[in-house]
Amino acid sequence: MTAAAVTVCRQEVEDFLYAEAALLDSWRLDDWLLMFDEDAKYEMPCNDAPDGDPATDLMLIDDDYTRLAARVARLNSRRAHREYPHSRTNHQVFNVRVDSLGDDVSVTASFTVWRFRAGRSSCYVGRYRYRLRKRDGGLLIVCKRAELDMTDLRDVGDVAVIL
């Protein structure tokens, strides 16, 4: 790593996020996992504590890379019963802001993730916070955090799909 500022334009970040959304929507989860660096994290705080800190607060999800890989393996198997057969999802990403530039890139974006399964539709709404890392001319995810705007999960039941 150099100390020099990394410059990334918003369009490059948007293209990266759209590519990620496409991989999730097509359930190419092994390829999706390749977008993460090996010290990466995937976090989701509880609805009533959107500022939740995994060190002190109960989260909905707090995956290090090992558990994220296990999450992918689980969802790829036929024994993740809540997601076999898989939901159809549509990950929509917008209001993208590249907030700060340094060694890593800090990005916030709004999301709407629609999920359809067995005649039922659910919709997740919230905010992504990413830390991205420039590597070999491309980007890698160092941290992906999905903060939900819904006050609870009563309408959606669970977060068995990846947001």
Partner: protein, 418 residues
Amino acid sequence: MPLVIDDPVAQRFRVHRSAMTSPDIHRAEIDHIFAKSWLYVGHESEIPEPGDFVRRPVGGRPVFMVRGVKTGQVNVFHNTCTHRGALVCRQDAGNSKVFQCFYHAWTFDSEGQLKGVPDREAYGGGLNFEELGLRRVARVESYRGFVFASYDRDIVDLPTYLAGAKDYIDLVVDGCGGSVEIVRGTNQYSFGANWKLLVENSVDGYHAESTHDTYFKYLVSIGTDLRGGVSGRALDLGNGHAVIEYSSPWGRPVAKWEPLFGEEARVEIDRMRADLVARHGEHRAHTMAEVNRNLLIYPNLIINDIMAVTVRTFYPPAPDAVDVTAWALAPVDELPTLRQRRLDSFLTFLGPGGFATPDDVEALESCQQGFAGGGVEWNDISRGMGRPSMANDEEQMRAFWRRWQHQMGAVADLAGAR
């Protein structure tokens, strides 16, 4: 014919599926069970300071729990203005000395007393401020910090009600060093199945291996030794309460090491276990450290002391729907490294984003959908009858169902359940 058929001679125990589908049964449950039991409200640790409050539905009714500024006691009030009904507590949690109804600005203090009424001279006969205080829920008692309320003024006291479940609450709390708290962050989720299916599932050892295969595969992948297996027993604790207790194939923050916790944790966990032995003796320390407890407190509280401790309560807004609220419970003043490890352990299995809970939800919705098809009228809950009950038997469920049938009485009869 009752909906629960208990035939010890034939060693057959059956529950009619209308108990899960009938709107009439659902309505009767609200009156016969949720209005007549001790129901979990929350934990005292959620409101440590005078004026701290939380609001939530209890048995489907809006209430709030506040620590009185004058008395320091835990008050549980019906969340409704005594004037014309609006909610007086409109935030989920916070701290306040007064609760003002925004509609006409009647104001109550944290002990429920009516303190302010605008233009009170308009009431010719005067207002009786004593009578117009916030209405307390008929009965409120707590055990080891767990606050319960009942809408039944004549219900037995809480310790009598809890019966054998008291000892198991003690094991959970004492295993955590004697003082516990709810961790910040709440799981609030709902799904389309009858609430009693979640009762069964929360204390079901039989389903673990088949339903949660992906969870066990994950444990193996990080180096967990599953050879010890899941063996243990089921106990009827009286009054509908029950527990399964069994050896733990997974790690326990207090106090069984596993690879998930990291090598550096071994020393700390050994020390915690030694502390338990010093305070409680080897036998009880073993039970606290290496034995899991899935505890059902009738009708709708689960305290599962497994790879972490979860407190879970639920309520049925309809026969085929359940609203679940769940928390993590942890020792007060737990070292930050231990707390982080505990929360990490919780998330491997538990909660709407865990590796197991979503598959339980799928199983229970799947059962409910199966019931709708008719054709098969009875569920079979006979497993393990006629032998000392094992943790993967169904005696703990039978304890619940016997109490349910008793409380429902003649209402839970095939003739009326449609």
